[in-house]
């Protein structure tokens, strides 16, 4: 990552940015950490490895303005840039406000996978990749100001198939009662820590519905009723927006398969609304603020 570090230094040096949001080595084996480089020597700590799982774009949202101290550059994988696109689409960010240091990426590690140093240099085996990487088609970022890492050929994929979508189809295939029990087993475990929303770059509301008690749409208690309401509301709010960075799923301490919910919604949007996929452009209006007069209404009598 020589070039990444030197470019970073350059940007800091000529003061074209105040801070570079990137990754640095973590304190524990197999961990990396989000890192803010303000000085040239900070820049020497910047790295990019398959262990750089975090979607750093959350630091571009307003609640982190306090640490920016000026213009921002960010180290972003193709998938992270999809989030940036949605943030732009939703008026949370202007493209010019951020310098994108795109990194080409062949996949990052799945949660709880710890690589030996050897593996770090070698190609990452599929079974150790995060599931989002299986269906990734932006290995080389679509939009960036500077690109690092030898260009990886972006895979041509059939959207909404393979990887997580096979699992989505599994659940789709279940009988109604089966589905209900499946989800209840999972939601039962939810401890309402809301880590899922806190880590999601698209949950940027100042005041979340869960923090409103008048009326109490989402009950605060971690019982199934409250948990079901919360998880459904969350999936609904991310429908047509989620770019499948998988952070919510990664951080959930209760191991609830949140990717399933979000990607079901992604798949639905793709199927129902002319192949819409969030994060691939910034111009088109998202499905929920637009419509077609001939949208399907088979379910309405």
């Amino acid at each position: 990552m020589e070039s990444l570090q030197s470019k970073a230094k350059e940007l800091i040096k000529d003061a074209s940015v105040a801070v570079i949001i990137g990754y640095a080595a973590g304190t524990k084996k197999g961990k990396t950490k989000p890192f803010f480089a303000y000085s040239e020597e900070d820049c020497e700590k910047l790295i990019f490895t398959p262990e750089c799982v975090n979607n750093l774009t959350i630091y571009l949202t307003r609640k982190f303005d306090f640490m920016k101290k000026g213009k921002v550059a960010i180290v972003a994988k193709g998938c992270d840039i999809k989030t940036i696109n949605v943030l732009i689409q939703e008026n949370q960010l202007k493209r010019d406000d951020v310098v994108i240091l795109g990194v080409s990426c062949e996949g990052v590690v799945d949660k709880d996978v710890i690589l030996d140093r050897a593996e770090l240099t070698a190609d990452l085996p599929e079974d150790k990749k995060s599931i989002k990487c299986i269906t990734c088609d932006v290995n080389t970022p679509s939009d960036f100001d500077h690109l690092f890492g030898e260009g990886v050929e972006s895979k041509a994929i059939e959207p909404m198939t393979g990887g997580i979508y096979d699992e989505v189809d599994k659940v789709r295939g279940m009988a109604q009662g089966e589905k209900w029990n499946f989800w209840m087993e999972h939601f039962e475990r939810c401890i309402k820590c809301y880590a899922c929303k806190k880590v999601c770059p698209l949950c940027y509301c100042d005041v979340c519905i869960t923090e409103k008690n008048q009326p109490q749409w989402i009950e605060t208690s971690a019982h199934e009723r409250g948990n079901y309401a919360w998880n459904i509301k969350r999936a609904m709010d991310l429908s047509g927006r989620c770019t499948f960075c998988g952070e919510c799923d990664r951080v959930c301490p209760a191991e609830i398969p949140l990717n399933l919910l979000n990607q079901e919604m992604a798949k639905l949007n793709y199927e129902a609304f002319d192949g819409y996929r969030a994060g691939y452009q910034t111009e088109e209006k998202p499905p929920f603020v637009s419509f077609k007069e001939d949208d399907d209404e088979g379910f309405i009598r």
Binding site: K28, P34, F36, K63, I191, A195, E211, T220, V251, P253
Partner: protein, 342 residues
């Protein structure tokens, strides 16, 4: 201190006995998602005693994440209110780790500090804690760096140590422990003169001096606005995972949940890492950003706890490190401060 012996089938027998006595047994157990948590066990085969430590702390047994404190019902113009008095069973925490056992003492201080939270104390009174000394530690364990030990006895009534040839050596620490062993004398047999126990784990000893840390924190001039907080915690996304898995975090929130013309007042875990934790009605938030919130959590462990309860607020279980999505490592802060405070 008396030593006893649990034969290989000791735990099996013990659990059977406790089940018979309708005693609730809580121990490390793998749940459907494949993670180990402390939950009701009905057979020794369910126990996951080799797991370094459970994902959550067992504090839930005394301080449930969600409990009702009272109920109300509108009846015409009046309201009926009824305090919640749950049935609390005799409970045995079996196979919890010494650090968690120690944490229960710290927790007790909080819940008995000014107002005595009977919901907590009742549960604690009725509980016997049989902890299990650690034979292995992982990278995140740091009990030894904060003055605890993998075979520490604080908070346990009985401490088990694994015997190489099978079975456990049981140290009866408290008189409750003694009593418990007597009740189950058939299971707690007399220990041999010498039992060859499995080596106790040795977590990495970090260059940490908690007294120095405290004195630094006491010196608000130095510590309060120190850039360190932002350097370390600006990246914190405030998910609060640390507070939920922490064995000594104890904050909770009280809300009403209406249902038609009735409802209940519930007590739910809360955490100082959430942005609304200190939000005033005015809209002002004294802890505006994550670094300030994290400074609070840190100070809570190493200053407020000692000051108020003469107790340590951190037992070094390392859960907050394991669960953190942005690798915000409390030991990193402790080592750095130890340096600064030199």
């Amino acid at each position: 201190m008396t030593l006893k012996l649990l034969k290989e089938d000791g735990l099996k027998k013990l659990i059977e006995a406790l089940n018979k006595a309708d005693t609730r047994v809580v121990g490390p157990k793998r749940n459907k998602a494949g993670m180990v948590t402390y939950d009701d066990v009905n057979a020794d085969t369910e126990l996951e005693l080799d797991e370094v430590i459970g994902r959550y702390s067992p504090k839930d047994a005394f301080f449930p994440q969600h409990e009702t404190v009272m109920r109300y019902k509108l009846d015409g113009k009046d309201v009926h209110v009824k305090a919640e008095t749950p049935v609390i069973k005799e409970t045995v925490l079996l196979g919890v780790r010494p650090c968690d056992a120690a944490a229960m003492i710290s927790l007790n201080k909080v819940f008995t500090w000014d107002y005595v939270d009977t919901l907590f104390t009742e549960r604690q009174k009725k509980a016997t804690i049989i902890s299990l000394a650690c034979n292995n530690a992982d990278e995140s364990c740091f009990c030894t760096s904060v003055g605890f030990a993998p075979d520490g006895t604080e908070g346990s009534d009985i401490l088990l140590k694994k015997i190489k040839s099978g079975g456990y050596l049981a140290e009866l620490i408290t008189k409750e422990g003694e009593a418990f062993a007597t009740t189950h004398k058939s299971i707690f047999e007399n220990a041999p003169a010498k039992a060859d126990t499995v080596a106790i784990a040795e977590p990495t000893k970090l260059d940490i001096d908690i007294d120095r840390i405290k004195s630094w924190l006491d010196d608000k001039e130095k510590s309060w606005e120190h850039p360190l907080w932002e350097q370390l915690a600006a990246k914190c996304v405030g998910c609060g995972g640390c507070t939920f898995v922490c064995p000594t975090c104890h904050c909770f929130d009280i809300v009403d949940e209406p249902y038609g013309d009735q409802g209940k007042r519930v007590k739910n875990w809360d955490g100082c890492q959430f942005d609304h934790f200190t939000l005033h009605a005015s809209g002002h938030n004294p802890r505006e950003h994550q670094p300030q919130r994290w400074r609070n959590r840190f100070s809570c462990k190493f200053k407020i706890y000692p000051d108020r309860f003469e107790k340590k607020g951190c037992v070094g279980c390392g859960r907050c490190i394991r669960v953190c999505p942005v690798n915000l490592d409390i030991t990193e802060a402790m080592t750095e401060i130890t340096q600064i405070a030199k």
